[in-house]
């Protein structure tokens, strides 16, 4: 085999999460109230648009979660196949040119020359101070100072054109698929979408797809020959770093809620439903956790985890596994400090549900407690869980940045928005200023968090019965 698949723990959990989502969608299709609620989500234009963007981000995250170790070329004399200790992902493979074309140090976006003057020795031995040409960016140009703008424009136009074309094709396929059930045939279905008369706002989604197509097309046309967002201090492509950060953000944003979910669900529902000393005990635990200032608790727990990981290097065979363990630990710790809010909500809801007639009736019929919890209580609190998951996502992504800044975030080797900001904050003070690392981290993070927020709003409006 040319590679050996590697499944990191967070990969596995991420796929479990995807599986859960697919399962939930499957179930929701058969339950009329769920279908109605989801249709309400679709009724929000911003919800549809942001969902489309989130799907794109998710795509990046998933591609970056398919890890493998490449096969090393067989060295003389040995027969057994040996795999590299470096763990790559499908995204790395797709972005190979961006990953390996590392310049010496800073260069501005789309630049063909280095950011700082250097002493250059020409072949004749004369020494001059100038901005040296970059090793990779714009290497195809004979005279970059003259030809670059023209070349960039051509590539950009071609890229956007191709991207738009691909997007249109996607839209066509999607529209036809959606329109097929419509009475009056495909054409009227199309017309409904285009004029925005469908219940689910497909038009918003399709417009977003077009926009995404243009952006991706443009980037894809330029990225192989230029550093679109420049390079960082050691010459790595900033676009590559930003794309790699997406997975970290997604993992933190989703897995944190996933790992804390069983705890919060069990404790919250039990406290609300059983009451009595169980309730007292659980309330005690979460008041204690709640009353410790969050950052301090996280700091202590992170430092402890780190110590544990450092003391047991034998647990991990590759650096990626180590970094992954730290990422997961961070998720658990963030979960530990934030499950209390969800548990409290669930407790309140369970308290209410317990008094409802059908639950009372079930109890009167002698149905066992575990069965009541599973059949009657749990399904009826799931909307709270869903709202909590989508609402927490953006705040967790933001929290990661702050924690990494304080030095208690992800492993410094892990590429994340937090580590990028942390590394880049000094660059703003440089003369002249290096703004592109911070800038692209800002743009990507802002887009991700903004679409998550908008989507969360749509979901909450649709599912929260108080607002129904």
């Amino acid at each position: 085999m040319p590679f050996q698949p590697v499944v990191l723990v967070t990969d596995a959990l991420l796929f479990v999460l995807l599986g859960l989502i697919v399962g939930a969608v499957w179930r929701a299709r058969r339950s009329p109230p769920m279908r109605r609620a989801w249709r309400d989500v679709g009724r929000s234009r911003s919800g549809m648009a942001s969902a489309t963007i989130l799907v794109a981000f998710l795509g990046i995250g998933v591609a970056d979660s398919l890890h493998y170790r490449p096969l090393l070329e067989s060295a003389g004399g040995t027969k057994s196949s040996v795999y590299s200790a470096e763990v790559l992902s499908a995204l790395d493979a797709a972005l190979t040119p961006l990953r390996v074309r590392v310049e010496r140090t800073y260069s501005a976006p789309l630049a063909t020359r280095s950011f700082a003057k250097e002493t250059i020795e020409s072949e004749s031995g004369a020494i001059a101070r100038d901005y040296p040409r970059l090793q990779f960016a714009g290497a195809q140009l004979a005279d970059p100072d003259r030809d670059r703008d023209q070349d960039v424009r051509n590539r950009l136009l071609r890229g956007i054109g191709l991207g738009l074309g691909a997007a249109v094709l996607t839209c066509l396929g999607l529209g036809t698929f959606l329109g097929r059930g419509q009475e009056g045939g495909c054409a009227s279905g199309w017309w409904a979408i285009l004029s925005g008369r469908t219940t689910v706002r497909w038009r918003a989604a399709l417009i977003t797809v077009l926009g995404l197509g243009a952006v991706i097309g443009g980037l894809a046309a330029l990225a192989p020959v230029y550093h679109v967002f420049g390079t960082d201090k050691v010459g790595q492509d900033v676009l590559y770093l930003t794309l790699k950060s997406v997975r970290t953000a997604l993992v933190i944003g989703t897995l944190t809620t996933l790992v804390l979910l069983p705890v919060a669900l069990a404790l919250g529902v039990l406290a609300g439903y059983l009451g009595g000393w169980v309730d007292d005990l659980i309330q005690y635990v979460y008041t204690v956790l709640n009353s410790i200032p969050g950052v301090l608790l996280i700091a202590a727990a992170v430092l402890m985890m780190q110590g544990l990981i450092d003391r047991h290097p034998e647990w991990f065979s590759t650096a990626a596994e180590r970094a992954d363990a730290r990422l997961l630990a961070l998720c658990c710790i963030l979960g530990l400090t934030s499950w209390t809010g969800l548990a409290r909500l669930l407790r309140g809801e369970a308290l209410k549900l317990r008094e409802l007639e059908y639950v009372q009736a079930a109890r009167a019929f002698g149905v066992g407690t575990p069965r009541i919890l599973l059949r009657h209580i749990l399904p009826n609190v799931m909307h709270i869980v869903l709202i909590a998951v989508v609402m927490d996502f953006s705040s967790l992504v933001l929290a990661e940045a702050v924690l990494s800044y304080v030095g208690i975030g992800v492993d410094p080797n892990t590429i994340s928005f937090g580590t990028m900001i942390n590394a880049a904050r000094m660059e703003l003070a440089r003369e002249p200023m290096v703004w592109w690392s911070l800038g692209s981290a800002f743009v990507f993070m802002f887009t991700l968090v903004l679409s998550a927020n908008l989507f969360a709003d749509a979901v909450r409006d649709a599912f929260d019965p108080r607002r129904g």
């Binding site: 090393l72 070329e73 067989s74 060295a75 003389g76 004399g77 040995t78 057994s80 040996v82 590299s84 200790a85 470096e86 590392v102 010496r104 140090t105 700082a116 003057k117 250097e118 002493t119 101070r129 960082d232 201090k233 050691v234 790595q236 430092l303 780190q306 110590g307 450092d310 003391r311 290097p313 590759t318 650096a319 180590r322 990494s404 030095g407 975030g409 492993d411 410094p412 080797n413 580590t419 942390n422 590394a423 904050r425 000094m426 703003l428 003070a429 440089r430 003369e431 002249p432």
Partner: protein, 722 residues
């Protein structure tokens, strides 16, 4: 609408308050405008200001201005030269053999059984004004015992209204040397000095039995009741220190605050009950005879040094290096120092504000611990240090000098893969030494503020060789009058010879993985790791970085579990011994908790080191050092990294500042053109109020139409209702 009117009025009032100064962003009180004050910053709060304990660079910035040891370094001369500070002349050294006979000064160090240092201090030196010396009219001490009402009022040292002074005597120096053995004070050099100063360890053992030594916080121990064999007061102004064997480096120690005077009555003053609770301790309020004294100690925000009115006086040096004349460093020749009245150090934890304030002219020069400061400066690559045009126009100047430090990447010699004396491991080490391009590192990460190391000895230290004789022949070639790093092919060849062709173990085919242990999550670490990974990839090796917190890192090094690690050494004094001991076998970290973190041991090297150690500088010592270097370069226990360049980035109004990491008492020589500073600050910091108006306008554009629309609607509905 009313509340927003009020808001604007308030804003205007505030603007009025600010508006009375020419610049709005001056972080200092307006009253200090053109005062003779120097502004500097510190990043880490000092932990100890007690001269027996303090051993860090951050604390030295304050301590060396306040305490005056017997000796100091000449401000301008290089290589570093010792001159008297409080001492009247250089100490008299007498060498004795085992039978107590005097030996000539150039005697073989192995024959020396004891060396005596007789130090005579200048008479008439007086301490800074201090309440511990305050006396009533009848000559009794004012604050000893402490009157309760005075204690109740006291928050800092300045709260004691009355002060006094006293003449400096030799007994004060002796007192301080005894304090090195004080069990409660944890002097970091006790172990080291205990090996040399006769009777110091015995004194330590005796003091430990004193019940007062166990108490914490402090109760007073009368050290005069504890004699110390090796240190005696000869007369009022002279004292003698007796050392075991020959230890010429002792003179350098005499230039550090460990050997500064501490008057016993001050100790007694601070050790009264109730003082420690108010942070009134010697550890917090140093007292000395130096050019400055500590007037304000608020390590969270500000430390202020004020000129000591009782300073015995010193003049600015008249000779220096050749370039000093041209740099204007000799202009103040013969004038009385210090020049500056007050020095304000502000706490600056984040580097961005620190750097920006410097650019705005609110710090006079790059500050105390400048390692994070220079990251902001955009300088040229490849070792040429330059300022941007804009900075040069502002009169900012940059001077550099190689500091007595060495940064290196050490191999753990106990490691089965990279360590040990085998040829295989040695070649692997050499291959790595070639592959890791230090020149690129210096240019990318240090802005060229470094010099590639060929061995552990930096320039300006005896034993360092320039030119072709000084290069490391295993890593460099001498081409066209320059050292040129050997090619990557050479590194690959060595790697293949070591049994790892193409980075794979020839026997098993497994890729070779090297582990680097490092600390911290601080600034730039990710970039450094990325860079290093890139270097390893050049020879197809895989690098795994195990970064961890400082304690865990120390732990690994101590137990010998590391493989490759970054480390550095900041010299205590400019002598080769202080560098070469880092690779001396008996100093091994694992075996004896010493400073030899690589755990390197080579019997031949150790033997040479023992001979070289106490020898006077000269051709014989040079020959020994050359041989030691050859051994080190052959064995390659470290990847010789680089020597840092100390640098000074300063504004045009600051004079007489010369970089030199070892010279820490430099404040007294510096001078400020305050008028120029005031002018330039004003020119650089004109407030730009346009954006404020723009924002106000924007708010009006948004709110105005909305309010109008609302009014119209309200009126319309009102009419309809009517």
């Amino acid at each position: 609408m009313l509340h927003s009117v009020r808001f604007w009025v308030a804003l205007l009032l505030l603007a009025g308050l600010v508006g009375c100064r020419p610049v709005w962003n001056d972080p200092y009180p307006a009253s200090e405008g053109e005062a003779n004050v120097m502004y500097s910053a510190f990043t880490n709060r000092p932990k100890h200001l007690d001269p027996v304990q303090s051993y860090s660079e951050d604390e030295a910035t304050f301590l060396y201005q306040i305490y005056e040891p017997p000796l100091q370094y000449h401000y301008l001369q290089r290589p570093y030269a010792l001159i008297p500070a409080a001492a009247a002349e250089m100490p008299k050294v007498i060498l004795l053999d085992a039978a107590g006979r005097e030996l000539p000064p150039d005697a073989d160090p192995a024959k020396v059984a004891e060396s005596q240092y007789e130090i005579r201090i200048q008479p008439g030196i007086r301490y800074q004004p201090h309440p511990a010396f305050a006396q009533r009219d009848d000559g009794s001490s004012r604050y000893l015992p402490m009157p309760a009402e005075d204690l109740a009022r006291a928050r800092q040292l300045g709260d004691f209204a009355e002060t006094g002074t006293r003449e400096l005597i030799a007994a004060d120096y002796v007192n301080q040397i005894k304090r090195l053995a004080h069990p409660r004070l944890h002097s970091p050099i006790l172990e080291l000095m205990g090996d040399y100063i006769i009777g110091l360890k015995a004194l330590h053992a005796r003091l430990q039995k004193d019940p007062a030594a166990q108490a914490w916080p402090a109760t007073h121990i009368d050290l005069t009741r504890y004699p110390l064999d090796g240190v005696q007061v000869v007369d009022r102004y002279t004292y003698r220190v007796r050392l075991r064997g020959a230890y010429p480096q002792f003179l350098y120690w005499l230039a550090m605050p460990f050997f500064a005077p501490v008057p016993p009555e001050v100790e007694q003053f601070f050790e009264q009950p109730g003082m420690a609770e108010r942070n009134l301790t010697l550890d917090w309020w140093p007292i000395g005879t130096g050019a400055y004294m500590l007037a304000e100690n608020d390590p969270n925000a500000r430390m202020t040094l004020v000129r000591n009115p009782n300073f015995h006086g010193e003049t600015y040096p008249c000779e220096g290096e050749a370039a000093d004349q041209g740099a204007g460093l000799l202009a103040d020749c013969g004038k009385a120092v210090p020049f500056i009245e007050r020095v304000v150090f502000s706490r600056e934890k984040e580097s961005i504000p620190y750097w920006n304030k410097f650019l705005q002219g609110y710090y006079d020069a790059s500050g105390v611990s400048s390692d994070n400061f220079d990251q902001a400066v955009q300088l040229g690559g490849q070792g040429d240090v330059l300022l941007t045009d804009e900075m040069r126009e502002r009169g900012i100047r940059l001077t550099t000098a190689v500091a007595p430090t060495v940064m290196y990447t050490g191999f753990n010699m106990l490691d089965p893969v990279v360590g040990g004396g085998s040829e295989r491991a040695r070649k692997l080490r050499l291959a790595l030494s070639i592959a890791i391009d230090q020149e690129e590192f210096i240019s990318v990460f240090l802005n060229g503020r470094g010099l590639t190391a060929m061995h552990p000895l930096p320039p300006d230290i005896f034993g360092y060789r320039e030119g072709e004789a000084g290069i490391n022949p295993y890593v460099f070639d001498w081409v066209d009058g320059r050292a040129k790093r050997k090619s990557i092919e050479e590194a690959r060849r060595l790697l293949a010879e070591a049994g790892y062709p193409g980075g794979r173990d020839a026997a098993t085919g497994e890729p070779l993985i090297i582990n680097l242990d490092t600390t911290g999550t601080g600034l730039g670490d990710k970039a450094r790791i990325d860079w290093l990974t890139k270097q390893f990839r050049k020879i197809d090796l895989q690098l795994v970085v195990r970064s961890t917190d400082y304690n865990r890192f120390q732990d690994k090094i101590r137990k010998g579990n590391a493989q490759l690690f970054f480390w550095g050494w900041n010299a205590d004094y400019p002598d080769p011994e202080n560098f070469l001991f880092l690779l001396y076998g008996p100093q091994s970290k694992v075996a004896s908790q010493g400073e030899n973190a690589a755990n390197y041991a080579n019997p031949e090297y150790d033997r040479l080191f023992e001979r070289m150690k106490a020898m006077a500088d000269g051709p014989e010592r040079q020959a020994l050092i050359d041989r030691m270097m050859a051994i080190l370069q052959h064995d390659a226990p470290w990847i010789w990294g680089f020597y840092e360049k100390a640098y000074v980035l300063q504004h045009g109004w600051l004079m007489n500042r010369k970089p030199g990491k070892i010279i820490r008492s430099a404040l007294k020589y510096q001078r400020i053109d305050t008028a120029l500073r005031a002018r330039q600050r004003e020119a650089w910091n004109r407030p730009d109020i346009g954006p404020l108006f723009a924002m106000a306008g924007l708010a009006l554009v948004v709110v105005g139409p909305a309010v109008l629309a609302y009014r119209r609607r309200e009126r319309a509905t009102g009419r309809k209702a009517a």
